[in-house]
């Protein structure tokens, strides 16, 4: 009798749940939330292709488990998740191409082990990654990419989105057409940043033997270095100008090699400290600014 009662309650609860699920698309207001857990053995590789709009947030924890939480408009977005060994692949697609595309939105929150490789792609919406160590490729059309305390071989490609990389380590490649890049307090051994019209700001130390290349077609390239830094500098602009606010710290070429900036460009060569790292800055028609941090 008691077990029959429990079954009835369970059945009623299921019925209410189904009713709620069925009614949700009609209401069109309450977002659909789902959470799935995947146990992994070693360093996972997580691929997320968000073909619709939405934010992707990735944080790490100590557990050998990947948690995928998503929030999406009910009935508008299809989310497929597949695990093959330590590879977890997530695809979000619009279910109704003819409906208002702005409704096709899915936000993701991933919780991953600290050592995880990532491949994330979205159209609009922020990509945010914090405290993850591993190679990563992050792509966005109009959304920004914010990275905090990440390390590895990091590739960021945006069309118009801005990169803010705070306390990043390893190697970083950034390409964009109109997006800006801010690289703050980094521990990078290699940097290659290229934007057509965006600005680039590098505020931090240069690692010894590091190679740093920052290029902007029309934007500002600004480097703020510290008094303890050691690097050779080559700054070159074709139609813009070089704003050297650190003349007191830049020694002329200490390595004796002959430099040529080309007949058509304004160029500045110099050395800070022993010149252990190599820094190359260029802009087609924008300004290059070099200054020492206080």
């Amino acid at each position: 009798m008691q077990s029959r009662g429990i079954r009835q309650i369970a059945f009623s609860a299921l019925g209410v749940g189904l009713l709620v699920c069925a009614a949700a698309p009609i209401w069109g207001a309450s977002p659909e939330h789902q959470e799935r857990h995947f146990t992994v053995k070693d360093h996972p590789f997580v691929v997320l292709q968000n073909i619709v709009n939405g934010r992707i947030e990735v944080k790490s924890w100590k557990n050998s488990e990947v948690v995928v939480s998503s929030t999406s408009a009910p009935g508008k977005v299809g989310i497929d998740i597949e695990q093959v060994g330590d590879r977890i692949e997530i695809n979000a697609n619009s279910l109704e191409p003819s409906s208002d595309p702005n409704e096709a939105e899915a936000d993701f929150q991933l919780t991953v082990p600290e050592k995880t490789e990532l491949q994330l792609r979205t159209q609009t919406g922020l990509i945010y990654v914090e405290q993850v160590s591993g190679d990563m490729k992050l792509q966005s059309v109009a959304g920004d990419v914010h990275l905090k305390e990440v390390s590895g071989y990091i590739i960021v490609k945006t069309t118009g989105g801005t990169l803010v990389c705070t306390q990043c380590a390893g190697k970083l490649e950034f390409t964009s057409i109109s997006g800006n890049a801010q690289i703050l307090q980094p521990s990078l051994t290699s940097l290659n940043a290229m934007t057509t019209t965006g600005n680039i700001l590098y505020d931090g130390d240069f690692m010894h033997t590091g190679m740093y290349s920052m290029n902007s077609g029309r934007g500002l390239v600004e480097v703020r270095f510290s008094g303890n830094d050691s690097f050779d500098l080559k700054a070159q602009t074709l139609l813009g100008h070089v704003d050297n606010q650190a003349a007191a710290f830049l020694k002329p070429d200490t390595h004796g090699s002959h430099h040529s900036g080309g007949r058509f460009s304004h160029a500045l060569f110099g050395t800070v400290g022993q010149g252990l790292a190599k820094v190359e800055l260029s802009s087609y028609s924008g300004t290059i600014r070099i200054l020492k941090r206080d």
Binding site: P101, Q123, T197, G217, F264
Partner: protein
């Protein structure tokens, strides 16, 4: 490099009438950035006509072609995914 530019221009002809990502924000961003990169390419080409031996301008032009190629590929992918 000039041939590369012609190929890209031909590829671009398919884009104007294409419905792209089906999202106004993304479509506007893709089209705005295509315009931006085209303007920059024209600026570099104009400079190189007058100073063909300018290596820095040539590097920027090559880089802009590369970006345009990637952008057109992304636009065609977006358009293709809707149809």
């Amino acid at each position: 490099m000039a041939n590369g530019g012609l190929v890209l221009n031909q590829a671009e002809l398919a884009v104007p009438n294409m419905q792209l990502a089906g999202n106004s924000t993304v479509d506007a961003s893709l089209r705005d950035n295509l315009r931006t990169v085209n303007e920059f390419i024209a600026e570099c080409q104009q400079h190189l006509k007058q100073h063909p031996e300018d290596d820095l301008a040539r590097e920027y032009l090559e880089s802009a072609y590369q970006q345009k190629a990637e952008l057109l590929a992304a636009m065609m992918d977006s358009g293709g995914s809707e149809h």
